[in-house]
């Protein structure tokens, strides 16, 4: 074990809002947070979003926003009390002894600097490497995190990398200062299962090989079960439960933990409904979509996609990032015309205008609303073109869908910035329902939400499907979501449909090699007896 590695110990940490005179106002955001991470230990900190996990990590680095301050307790890294350390000492600790791996890698890179420039900063500051030595070390790091062509990757600007590659590059940056302790803040929540597994395995290797201590912040229980030694559960700014992973996950003591675990266990078994005898409502025949000039035979996002959707059916579309899932959604709704092939809609004759009968629920609820408009204004927008509605009728319709998605009508006068992700996603669904759609396409509709919220939204969608006999297309990279929701599954790989199967058959025996890899990756790779927690068969 590396002798400079030292444990991270938080003792009674308290964080609150700072007032101008140095005092505090309002209740504490973190209260009495005590935890420790030893060198070589993989400790998971779980909880729903807003529970204070990220705040805990930023406190350790002493990088809280200016409006917040530590009001009590201590944070020790070895012998050094970080709450009392000088700015000079902190600069050598940050990225050096104590590294941080962020979520949303693309936003955490300076868009105007290359990966090389980012990597060289910690190399110069913490390893004293400059020039060609720094460059060769940077190349080495990129190779280590899985860049196939480090010489090319090092010259790239962040926007030129895919999400997965950017997260690997971010991992290389975090490891460049040879930290003994790593704060990993949801490092994989934006990634699909295959990439998630690669990143976590990489961290786990660093832990085994050189005694890296890891505080892994997540809301993904499956990955916790696969890697963590100990688990801490955080709710509303306090640690509510802590213990060895095996014990805590199998015998949770608090209701909150039980709820978290239940939410993680979305799909104890595949959804089972008798095959639908209804007629097809949507038929895709040889749909293709090409980007770029036709002459140069530009990038083909979709090739020869043929699918059917029955009335009242829930069809899952699985695929990794970049497989063409979103392009497919846009083509079906009509936001982007398909280059080849045809899409037939066989709608109910009783339905309203044909154009709006297929609606889309977007991935990022915060970017699906105009930040300057109140929700009421946003929800009124789709009803404007139908002139047959009086203002009173319009308000009635809006009130009705708000009730249907279980949202308080008072929210209508709020702006998106004042709402939580879960509330906004409900509002997105309400907006789609306003036009009485017959087909609802959910494009990663819950992947930006934490597990608890995700579950409530999925249940809402299932109820709406039942009550309105909607047909749903659930597009996701999350195997659990698809397993929980869908009657049938289609797998997209590089713009082609490689497999279509009943959900149960698909998870029991995936046919295509890519499907097998997806199913395999969704099963954590742990040797001890935690499989029961996840309700999956041991591979």
């Amino acid at each position: 074990m590396n002798p400079v590695n030292a444990g991270l110990v938080l003792d009674g940490l308290q964080v609150g809002h700072k007032t101008h005179d140095g005092g505090t106002s309002g209740g504490p955001l973190l209260s009495d947070v005590s935890l420790s991470v030893e060198p070589g230990e993989f400790v998971a900190l779980v909880g729903s979003s807003g529970s204070g996990k990220t705040l805990t990590a930023m406190s350790c680095l002493q990088l809280l926003p200016p409006s917040l301050g530590i009001t009590g307790g201590s944070i020790r890294l070895g012998d050094l009390d970080l709450t009392r350390a000088s700015e000079h000492q902190l600069n050598s600790v940050r990225g050096g002894r104590l590294g941080m791996l962020f979520q949303q890698p693309k936003r955490m890179f300076n868009p105007n600097r290359t990966i090389e420039q980012h990597l060289k900063e910690p190399l110069r500051l913490h390893a004293g490497l400059r020039g060609s030595k720094a460059r060769s070390k940077a190349l080495e790091l990129l190779e280590e995190v899985g860049f196939a062509d480090p010489a090319k990757g090092i010259r790239a600007y962040p926007h030129q990398l895919s999400g997965g590659m950017a997260q690997r590059a971010m991992t290389a940056v975090a490891l460049a200062g040879q930290p003994g302790m790593l704060l990993a803040d949801e490092p994989t929540s934006a990634l699909d299962k295959v990439l998630e597994r690669q990143i976590l395995q990489l961290l786990d290797r660093e832990r085994r090989e050189r005694g890296l201590g890891i505080l892994y912040i997540t809301h993904n229980i499956a990955s916790v079960a696969a890697y963590a030694d100990r688990v801490l559960v955080m709710n509303a700014g306090s640690i509510v439960e802590a213990g060895p992973a095996g014990e805590l996950l199998t015998r949770p003591r608090t209701d909150y933990t039980r709820e978290l675990l239940a939410a993680a266990r979305l799909a104890p078994e595949s959804r089972r409904r008798p095959p639908s005898r209804e007629r097809d409502i949507l038929v895709l025949d040889g749909v293709g979509k090409h980007f770029g000039s036709r002459r140069k035979l530009g990038h083909a996002a979709l090739q020869d996609v043929s699918l059917t959707l029955k009335r009242g059916e829930i069809l899952g579309v699985l695929g990794q990032s970049g497989s063409g899932k979103s392009t497919l959604a846009k083509a079906i709704v009509g936001l982007e015309a398909a280059s080849t092939g045809s899409i037939f809609r066989q709608l109910d004759t009783a339905g309203p205008r044909e154009g709006t009968a297929v609606q889309l629920v977007f991935q990022e609820p915060h970017s699906a609303f105009d930040p300057r408009m109140t929700l009421r204004t946003s929800l009124q927008a789709p009803l404007r073109p139908s002139h047959d509605l009086s203002p009173e009728q319009r308000d009635e319709r809006i009130a009705a869908v708000m009730a249907e998605v279980e949202l308080d009508a008072a929210l209508l006068d709020k702006r998106p910035g004042q709402c939580s992700g879960g509330q906004l996603q409900r509002a997105t669904i309400a907006r789609a329902l306003l036009l009485e759609p017959q087909v609802l396409i959910c494009d990663e509709a819950t992947s930006a939400l934490d597990a608890l919220t995700q579950r409530t939204i999925l249940n809402l969608l299932l109820r709406l499907q039942r009550e309105r006999n909607l047909s749903l297309i659930v597009i996701s990279h999350d195997m659990d979501v698809v397993r929980y929701m869908c009657d049938r599954v289609a797998v997209l790989l590089e713009g082609r449909v490689v497999e279509v199967a009943e959900t149960k058959d698909f998870f029991a025996a995936p046919g295509h090699p890519h499907s097998q890899a997806l199913v395999q990756a969704s099963i954590p790779c742990r040797a001890d007896g935690l499989w029961s927690v996840l309700d999956v068969a041991k591979p």
Partner: protein, 313 residues
């Protein structure tokens, strides 16, 4: 990138051709017949011989079709023959080029001065928005916008030339004579640059990658120097070019007040004297230069900000 350069260059050529055609048409929309004006300027008395009018029109090629005249004019123009000034009877090119070099120096000095003042002010204001320093800087620079050149210039002359006698009142001889005109011209750009830098810095400082840089161990100062300031200055390159292009033809008031023999002064005189060839030559040169500078700024901006146009590539 090559495609981008080709496209922008084609746009540049098109803009110059279209505007030069508009300039070429100026005489056809101005009251008074230039041919008669020329003859009147050469003969005594009011009577004009109609055959002389016909003869001069023929010899000047004014009876040819418009398109023929335009391409002849354009061809001559770009081979350096911009015609003869009505007033001085000397080639227009010989008057335009020295005036252009004067205005280029004046505008460059004014904008470099403006940037040199605006950069530190904008950075200080942007790093601590809402602070006393920010409020003071914003108030002063906003006040500058409200000061017209024809008021600022005499005040500066009064103070520095007449009261303190440290700078000449007018003319264009040495560097000292350039100070007051450049300063006058710089006032409004100072205001716009400061506000652009301030906004750029505020946006750049709010980016999430800044705390991420701190987490790598960069000190506050290093993070600002490497990740905030460079990113915050990107918008300035475009603004700089827009002002450069604008001031090339927009320095009239300052040049007239300070008797600077530049383009603004030249165009002003040409218009007052109905010296159409001189006005045409001056305007086309200014337009070509303005479009060229703006295009160049697009290249620079694209180089500085990697993500601009990334989706187009």
């Amino acid at each position: 990138m090559l495609q981008f350069i080709t496209k922008r260059t084609a746009t540049l050529v098109a803009a110059v051709v279209v505007s030069s055609f508009a300039v070429f048409l100026i005489p056809y929309f101005t009251p008074g017949d230039p041919v008669r004006k020329i003859i009147r300027s050469r003969v005594a008395g009011d009577a004009i011989d109609e055959s002389a009018v016909q003869g001069l029109s023929e010899s000047l090629g004014l009876n040819d079709p418009l398109a023929v005249q335009y391409f002849r004019w354009l061809g001559d123009f770009f081979s350096g023959d911009m015609g003869l000034s009505f007033v001085s009877r000397t080639p227009v090119a010989e008057q335009v080029l020295p005036a252009l070099s004067v205005t280029l120096s004046l505008v460059t000095m004014a904008l470099v001065l403006a940037a040199a003042i605006a950069l530190p002010l904008g950075i200080v204001a942007g790093l601590r928005p809402g602070s006393t320093a920010d409020k003071a800087i914003t108030a002063v620079t906003q006040a500058l916008i409200a000061m017209p050149e024809y008021w600022v210039a005499p005040v500066l002359v009064l103070v520095f030339a007449l009261k303190l006698s440290v700078l000449p009142t007018a003319g264009w001889n040495d560097l000292s004579s350039a100070v007051l005109p450049a300063l006058t011209l710089a006032l409004r750009p100072i205001s716009f640059f400061t506000s652009a830098v301030r906004t750029g810095i505020i946006d750049a400082a709010a980016a999430e990658h800044v705390p991420a840089a701190r987490a790598r161990g960069l000190s506050q100062g290093q993070a600002i120097l490497r990740h905030v300031v460079p990113n915050g200055l990107v918008p300035l390159s475009t603004l700089f070019a827009v002002w450069f292009a604008g001031l090339l033809g927009g320095s009239v008031i300052v040049e007239v007040i300070f008797a600077v023999p530049g383009m603004g002064r030249l165009l002003f005189d040409a218009v007052v004297n109905s010296d159409i060839p001189l006005a045409q030559g001056g305007v086309v040169v200014v337009v070509a230069l303005a479009v060229g500078v703006t295009t160049l700024a697009d290249f620079v901006h694209r180089f500085l900000s990697r993500t601009v146009g990334a989706s187009l590539a």
